[in-house]
């Protein structure tokens, strides 16, 4: 079902509203228009891991890559039926038992085609991966799912942000029990997309690291806390990177009215990434809802995270630490991690944002096999048709 957005460009009226299509369908304009047609591939889903305490290992799982963003300026004719194929986001993975570890799925390819135009394609992001890191003295690296790239037929193409990486953990003790999960990548609205938060692992036991997803103007926060316990980071934002949440820095989260330092816990409610709050509003593009000078949002949306925000990393419990949000449009999903005490997950927070955000990884290391885990879906791809002017 296509959604129509208000506030189309400022050309001579009448000009039909911008159109968003997130399912495969056909479409024709009511009259000839010049439009910027943007295709977004589906986001890859995150990896799901589930490790027994008695395996004595450190398990890494990474977020999925965001879908590619490809666009062209086209003249669209009412006599032509255009075909939109919407790539699906990667399905989330389900880890039912100990050692039931699964890589994420890739997102699908999105395309826009029709007679007289060059077909635009935008590829989906890759799924996140997982890696056991059991051996003392070994240096491990685990890349996040790669962002979508390699599409065709477009005026421009932006590679999606990768899932967060787990970087060079040196395992110093083979009795470690750790769960390391990274957030998904964000769609590249203005260039190559930003990645989910990286984890720089330090040699500790019984920790859980969950990094935030990427935002359209900054990566998810890095998790590199050197103290024992469970740690998380903010997702990247529409105007800057996320911060290492449990060290007191929220990163630059300008949807908090009046907060220009990024030090206040966001008041915004958790926003389901598949919410229709964006329908028929002006609030689609991050650049249209943000005040770039004062770093605040327009009044109509000040109580929620803006489009382009990465999801917050979370650990051990469904209860929010702070009031971090899930991913919004284009943003990468936050990761979930639990260590020793299990914890019950709310998998909605791992979901990648609509229009190609990568899904976050989930992982646990605990006694009980009953702590099943879900990773985050990749955000579904789609096509946005921005009306530029009517062609007379």
């Amino acid at each position: 079902m296509p959604y129509a957005f208000g506030a189309a460009g400022g050309s001579n009226p009448p000009l039909i509203p911008d159109v968003l299509l997130t399912v495969s369908t056909t479409w024709s304009p009511p009259y000839k228009v010049k439009a910027l047609v943007r295709c977004f591939g589906g986001g890859g889903s995150g990896a799901a891991t589930n490790t027994s305490y008695y395996q004595y290992t450190t398990m890494g799982g990474t977020g999925g890559g965001a879908g590619e963003h490809a666009g062209s300026i086209l003249e669209l004719d009412p006599s032509i039926t255009y075909t939109i194929v919407a790539g699906s986001g990667g399905d989330r993975r389900y880890s039912a038992n100990h050692n039931d570890n699964k890589a994420g799925y890739a997102g699908g390819t999105t395309s826009f085609s029709g007679s007289g135009i060059t077909t635009i394609t935008a590829n989906g992001g890759a799924g996140g991966g997982f890696l056991a890191m059991p051996t003392v003295g070994t240096v491990y690296n685990l890349a996040g799912g790669a962002g979508g790239s390699g599409g065709a037929g477009a005026l421009y193409r932006h590679t999606g942000g990768a899932g967060g990486a787990v970087l060079k953990p040196v395992i110093a003790n083979n009795n470690f029990n750790n769960a390391l999960s990274t957030g998904g990548g964000a769609v590249g609205l203005y260039g190559t997309g930003f990645a989910g938060g990286a984890i720089s692992f330090v040699s500790l036991n019984q920790i859980a690291f969950a990094s935030g997803g990427g935002g359209v103007n900054g990566a998810g926060g890095v998790c590199n806390n050197s103290s024992a316990g469970r740690h998380w980071s903010w997702g990247g934002g529409a105007f800057g990177p996320g911060g290492p949440g449990d060290l007191g820095s929220a990163g630059f989260q300008p949807w908090i009215t009046g907060d220009t330092t990024g030090s206040t816990v966001p008041p915004g409610a958790f926003v389901l990434p598949d919410s229709d709050v964006w329908e028929a509003t002006n609030n689609f593009w991050p650049s249209k809802v943000m005040d770039r000078v004062n770093h605040t949002m327009s009044a109509s949306t000040a109580t929620m995270a803006p489009p382009g925000t990465g999801g917050c990393g979370r650990y051990n419990t469904v209860i929010a630490h702070g009031l971090g949000t899930g991913a919004t449009l284009f943003g990468g999903g936050g990761a979930f991690a639990s260590s020793i005490h299990g914890g019950t997950q709310d998998p909605r927070f791992c979901m990648g944002g609509k229009l190609g955000g990568g899904g976050g990884a989930s992982g646990g290391n605990h006694w009980s096999s009953s702590y099943f885990r879900w990773s985050g879906y990749g955000g579904d791809g789609g096509v946005v048709i921005e009306m530029l002017e009517r062609v007379l």
Binding site: T25, V85, G87, R92, G108, T109, T344, W367, F372
Partner: protein
């Protein structure tokens, strides 16, 4: 809207589409095949949060009993009496109104 796997030459593209639309745009005559994408998530095995909580608390109880079993076997263990009381409370816990919200606590 369904998730449809469109396959050609071994390459799968998962799209958000009806199966009919997928067949129209990607014809079998051109070498495509189509199928509803299958999730690996066994719906029947997914517990509600409440069910999951009950199961988790029982697992925790069982583990506590298992891990403290050796203590009550040692006559001169300094906390033997406390553990005997604690283990009795653990065994009785699921039948009480405290289950699953309030876990038994080891006394002095």
């Amino acid at each position: 809207m369904s998730r449809i796997d469109v396959t050609k030459d071994g390459v799968v593209n998962t799209i958000s589409s009806s199966i009919e639309f997928a067949r129209t745009v990607f014809p079998v005559a051109d070498g495509y095949s189509h199928a509803e994408a299958v999730s690996d998530e066994p719906v029947a095995a997914v517990l509600t949060l409440e069910e999951g909580s009950l199961l988790e608390e029982r697992k925790w109880r069982d583990l506590e009993l298992k891990d403290s079993d050796w203590i009550v076997q040692i006559p001169d263990h300094p906390q033997r009496a406390a553990y005997i009381t604690y283990r009795a409370a653990l065994r009785a816990w699921p039948a009480t109104s405290d289950f699953p919200a309030t876990r038994p606590v080891l006394g002095e």
